[in-house]
Amino acid sequence: MASDTPATESDITAAFADEPALVAYVAAGDPDAEATKEYVRALVRGGADVVELGLPFSEPVAEGPTIQQAIRRALDAGMTPDRYFDLVADLREDEEVDVPLVCMTYYNLIYQYGPDDVAGPEPFVAAAAEAGISGLIVPDLPVDESDPLKAACDAHGLDLVFIVAPTTTDERLGRMLDRATGFVYVQGRLGTTGARSDVSDETHVSLGRLDETDLPKAVGFGISERDHAREIVSGGADGVVVGSAFVDIVSEQEDTAARLEAKARELKAGALDGAEEMAQPEGK
């Protein structure tokens, strides 16, 4: 990768360029690392444009019950940051996995990684970049505390993705957009992650506030069906982030890879429907 070009050359941003993107989450190591590789391949076959690979932390305060349990299973099966980076490096060798990989984790794991005498996020970011991670999402790190991690990400060419909540004030939004790279993660509703049966009105309000930004906008929290993806993309989003709907399939352990692929295909089709709806009223 050309490291002499500025951070605007983001492969994550590029993944949104041609059509609405599906960002698919699974927890790494649930139920084990080999299975995760198979699941990532299946998600990519089904049309995932970015894969968000969760690095499990013992206290996942932003997650609902589905992903909490996946994280528990992954930890019980022995997932660690080092094993996670090995898994990522293996996936990067896999020709079938030709999409950016994003690491979603909590700040303490980032802060602790590396030699005991080096405090701070730099060793983690260096190892993530080395393994082939393209960006980070850290749900317990608000923009106010993000300076050290942002500096490390800039130094190693990683995107740092910020989550915009329905409660985010304009002043905070401005500070986030000043720093955000990759894409803007729009939290579709208040609460924790988890599949819901409808699309919240808050989603539409949030998307409206982000009209001005050049970065792609992807909506997450509560999306599980084709119709949700369609509605969100037709409402102006550049993509959807889906986690719990995939993790539910993983938890059931029945024909998992095939069902993940089918679910990804369904959601991607919904996103494409939405893009078509967007295009039609304009008469194009």
Partner: protein, 415 residues
């Protein structure tokens, strides 16, 4: 409570490590803390003090412990927070925060609880101030703290069991934060200790510092001078900071924080388990529940399950200000094990006619172990009463054949 104290950090500790969805609520709370608590806007502090007096029963006494003074050959005074309404210091904070929520126009209160003392104090304060209240409590804790569950329910609070993980305080905090992230617009989270994101560590400390404000006056009245040392137990650290805060500027007063040494001071890396709760004396810097502080964690940064015979000290983290004061050398962190705490429980009950909470028993156990280190005039904070702990104490004393424990054979034989 009039100082302008608005920095979110204590050295490198503290801060605001929470999901973005909560940040606007935290900014709103910070503003309310500065206006009402620090600047006494609308007479908030006056109303808080009046309610602490009339509803809570403040001031609590500073009592000379005659037989302990004799036993250790020095002047020992007890700050009797066990005599506060509800039986523990917890009401100081719960009443302050529930009242603040009312000033902020929030009509729903949520709180986590481990042993049930903070949940009970919050339920009492919510009933007193007519606010809806829901408490999150781990399933394991619900089963071992039944009397406090009854008390919360009797005060008309909902008790929501938390089933994931070990079902203790750490999981209850996670789940309360999730509720807050969902219902942030009409809900205030009454956090139970000097932990969490800014402004909680400072705000809870300010509500609890009435303990040291009174004790400092009382000891000067009684003994004619400041004490050589103040001793308090430390879990999350709210009674600790409450007992220390007004003495921090008095360099001649040693501040001793006694943590739970549990069964031993080791870490089981295989099981990610620490059989103690000594995060201040043995933990490493990290980020948990909104703040950078000292934590019990493994090499990777996963948080360890802690242990103490005292449920109220059984927590993997500690307040960031205590971490800072310990690094600065202003607070001396020490620890005592389960056995010594149980013996201290029986000792105070027999010698002074006071049944202390198992948490407070840790402070008293340190006095037994190292009286010379504490000087000629010692104040020990008795943070709560031990009625809630009787089942645990009898069972655990029996298991250990403790000499100090009374025989309970009166129950045997059915006569």
């Amino acid at each position: 409570m009039s100082r302008t104290d608005t920095d979110s950090k204590f050295g490198d500790y503290g801060g605001q490590y929470v999901p973005e969805a909560l940040m606007p609520a935290i900014e709103e709370l910070t503003d309310a803390y500065e206006r009402y608590v620090l600047d006494n806007e609308d007479g908030f502090v006056d109303e808080f003090r009046e309610r602490l007096r009339d509803f809570g029963g403040r001031p609590t006494p500073l009592q000379r412990a005659d037989r302990l003074s004799e036993r250790y050959d020095r002047e020992v005074y007890l700050k009797r927070e066990d005599l506060l309404h509800g039986g523990a210091h917890k009401l100081n904070n719960a009443l302050g925060q529930v009242l603040l929520a009312k000033y902020m126009g929030k009509d729903r209160i949520i709180a986590e609880t481990g042993a049930g003392q903070h949940g009970t104090a919050t339920a009492m304060a919510a009933a007193h101030l007519d606010v809806d209240c829901e408490i999150y409590m781990g399933r394991t804790d619900i089963n071992r703290q039944r009397p406090n569950v009854f008390r919360m329910r009797i005060h008309d609070a909902e008790v929501n069991p938390v089933d994931i993980g070990s079902g203790t305080l750490k999981e209850a905090i996670n789940e309360t934060m999730r509720d807050w992230a969902t219902n942030v617009e009409d809900t205030h989270y009454v956090i139970g200790s000097v932990v969490g994101p800014h402004p909680f560590p400072k705000m809870v400390r300010d509500f609890q510092s009435v303990i040291s404000e009174e004790a400092r006056e009382q000891v000067r009245d009684r003994a004619g001078r400041l004490p050589d040392s103040v001793v308090a137990c430390a879990g999350g650290g709210s009674n600790t900071m409450g007992a220390f805060h007004e003495f921090v500027g008095d360099d001649e007063v040693d501040l001793v924080a006694v943590e739970a040494g549990g069964s031993e001071l080791t870490i089981d890396e295989e099981e990610d388990l620490a059989p103690h709760s000594a995060s201040l004396s043995t933990g490493e810097e990290g980020v948990l529940h909104g703040a950078r502080t000292k934590l019990l964690q493994n090499r990777d940064g996963q948080i360890l399950e802690s242990h103490s015979v005292s449920a109220g000290l059984d927590y993997s983290g500690v307040g960031p200000e205590l971490a800072y004061l310990a690094d600065e050398g202003r607070v001396t962190p020490v620890n005592v094990g389960d056995d010594a705490a149980l013996e201290a429980f029986h000792r105070l009950s027999k010698l002074e006619g006071i049944i202390p909470a198992l948490e407070s028993s840790h402070a008293l156990a340190y006095l037994e172990a190292n009286p010379e280190s504490l000087g000629d005039l010692v104040v020990v904070n008795v943070s709560g009463r031990g009625d809630k702990d009787l089942d645990t104490v009898i069972e655990e004393s029996d298991k250990r054949n403790l000499d100090a424990a009374p025989s309970m054979e009166v129950f045997e034989g059915g006569e």
